[in-house]
Symmetry: C2
Subunit: 163 residues, 2 copies
Amino acid sequence: MAPTGDDDPLDGLDARLLLLLSDEPRLGVLECSRRLGVARGTVQARMDRMVRRGVLRGFPPELDLAAMGYGLTAFAVLEIAQGQRATVAERLAAIDEVCEVHATTGQGDLFVRMVARSNADLQRVIDTVVAVPAVRRTSTSIALSTPVPPRVRPLLENLANDE
Amino acid sequence: MAPTGDDDPLDGLDARLLLLLSDEPRLGVLECSRRLGVARGTVQARMDRMVRRGVLRGFPPELDLAAMGYGLTAFAVLEIAQGQRATVAERLAAIDEVCEVHATTGQGDLFVRMVARSNADLQRVIDTVVAVPAVRRTSTSIALSTPVPPRVRPLLENLANDE
DNA sequence: CGATTACTGTACAAACTGCTCAACGAGCGG
DNA sequence: CCGCTCGTTGAGCAGTTTGTACAGTAATCG
């Protein structure tokens, strides 16, 4: 068979494998090979390659924060004093309830996602966040629902079909 | 031993197990039991229970979108015409590059995360998003960096230590 | 054409999994 | 105070999977 071009990080088989693993993550290599109709060694080789290329980072446990008691999610846009972004980011990273921080273009310099157990708890978390030095202005909003939960599936399906 | 209270969804052992699995997701049940110093059956029971309670959803593959060619991430805040939020959310869900949508409080009604392969591609994606009917006003910003990548670890560590 | 690369099929030892069983200890209710 | 129930332990067993290796085939590239 033709050597899979290294220019293309993922081919159709890779995508189908990832889709399969997305749906049933506990599947072993052998079972995957059976379902995909390829040899076991091939599946192993593909997975190794994807790990090597950094596409496949691993199989972390997926937790439901709500079921863990952290039922509230909030977003905050922070405006930071000039040149203090890195420092602020570091401070934010030290707050347990801060689950994600992005530096963005536009007026808001930092975008923060955080969780909390209750309204009172959320208040506390927000206070902690805005109390970080060099934070100029903040705008917070609470997530009411999540029509589209984090997903990658459509992208994979594209790859699986196109190639 | 005392029956583990069902009021507390996670106890210290659960948290330590989840931490272990976060660090080395490929670990089998047997290896986990060895590292935690408990019997294999216990680990199995804990995992079953967490799955039953919905805390542990599974072990999906973690993909690096950047390594897959989708190097750009952007956020959009959409203002929606009255009563059209559900409809818009549905439309957004149909766009492959839309990886996450939240309904939020505040002026922005919907919060969207999307990815793209290049600036041109991003332009196309954004155009697609804002072209959705009933979308009044949009404000988009690009993620420049991610000081704190999505994480749950600190929360787990709290549980592991406190209990 | 020869070299390289990828996939297949096979094989074997080592390890793991799912499952069961008996036993122990700690709370709980009567 | 007793008996029950539940979580945990340690053991065992059959079946399956994993890691690894090797040989054969096929397709691309120079």
